[in-house]
Symmetry: C2
């Protein structure tokens, strides 16, 4: 099966961005170490707070560890099937150690620096993803990295000052999914001031999404009257959201991001 990104190799950067789809099925072809390093290095070229690089990237390639990591990511098969999983972490530990070695008193064990580290980590992640797709690889983000942060911390032996923010699977695609829909641009863009949404406007902005064939199929499968209820009743339920909010906050406290 040809790699779906094969024909993108001649694309310019913006065209490549418009071709992004998440890849959840991978061939067994490994990623060459020199290519992997190039992707990671592309990650480090992203903007970073004060050029401090308050993030770390953990590379998982060992099959046994990928199988364990899969459990942390709600058993999504792609985590053990992809040749590489990358976990992007906010990391003030390295910076703190550097400061201490220079008799400088660090002051980064706080919420602001979790945020700065998270931004750094996510910018690096997106650069890695774009470089990966440019090389004919496919990626998928794992939102579960924050849901299961404490389990990942244990598995990857992340010290105080380090917390996972996101993760991606990377590998050569063995599927060619369609582009997914997006809301019309005017749904997410506001000029000068935030424009409130009337119910009429909401109806118009969500009309296309609510009338996709995919949506109709989901409604039938789930026996629910509308797409919004699939999100609130099935995919991202209030009780789960509140449970994982509290869990992640506890992890941030444990890892030292609240003046510990």
């Amino acid at each position: 099966m040809p790699y779906p990104y094969e024909n993108l190799k001649k694309m310019n950067p913006t065209e490549l961005l418009f071709q992004h789809r998440s890849i959840r099925k991978y061939s067994s072809k490994p990623i060459e170490p020199t290519l992997l390093n190039r992707l990671l290095e592309a990650g480090t070229r992203a903007s970073t707070t004060g050029n401090m690089q308050v993030y770390s990237i953990i590379v998982t390639q060992d099959q046994e560890r990928k199988d364990q990591l899969k459990k942390c990511h709600f058993n999504q098969a792609m985590v053990s099937e992809a040749p590489v999983v990358l976990t992007f972490c906010a990391d003030v530990n390295r910076f703190n150690q550097w400061c201490k070695a220079r008799h400088a008193e660090p002051g980064y064990n706080n919420f602001l620096w979790f945020i700065n580290g998270a931004i750094d980590a996510i910018l690096a992640a997106q650069n890695v993803c774009i470089a990966a797709e440019d090389a004919g690889l496919g990626i998928c983000y794992l939102g579960t990295a924050t849901y299961m942060a404490d389990e990942i911390i244990e598995l990857l032996k992340l010290p105080h000052g380090v917390v996972p923010v996101t993760a991606i699977t990377v590998g050569y695609p063995s599927e060619t999914p369609d582009l997914t829909d997006r809301l019309p641009l005017e749904a997410v863009v506001h000029h000068e001031e935030y424009s409130p949404y009337s119910t009429e406007k909401i109806n118009a902005l969500y009309h296309e999404k609510e009338n996709l064939e995919l949506t109709k199929k989901l409604l039938e499968e789930n026996q629910l009257p509308n797409l919004a209820q699939i999100f609130t009743e099935k995919r991202y339920k209030k009780t789960d959201n509140e449970f994982f909010s509290e869990k992640f906050m506890k992890t941030l406290i444990k890892q030292g991001f609240f003046n510990d």
Copy 2:
């Protein structure tokens, strides 16, 4: 003066990533509306949590508002000088309104969904930046967006459920800065498990940065014995970090991200 990105137009995506530098000085040349829309649309093609797009982008082009926004960003001149400032926000407000209009009970006013919205917003931001550089524009991230979130909320009239996460200036460059240094790749990448840093390792990893001409100049200007102390004593001081941590947390609570 030629735009420094002019010669990048034939570059492939990965080469473009390796050429990124923050641009803080802009020519007065405006950004065509069709180009701006294309950049924003490239932003929306980034991965997003459950394809929910829990973010919004506020476009600031009005000079008076840019001047006010500049005050929110610690008076950085580029905020009023760049033709466009984009503020990227975590936004559960639109999703909540959609749910309510469909008799679905939303459960997104919590910390987990601030995080998910922040990740969505930052991935969109990085795509916009890459598309901008591909078009010969320059960008600079404004880390101050979280420091001054409540002032930005007021200026841009952001409702409950919406909070700024990052911002960028965008425009045609009128400077050609050098690439900035980065730590060696092995400083930020760990294989299989997080490798602790010995003082010896820290010394080796920071050796190049500590011996840059730029660093030597900074030490002289600041009359401090080492670069780490420039960060802890001048740029990002503990008392400021703790002040802005508390300020941002209060803003998250006020905007409803703690079950409000």
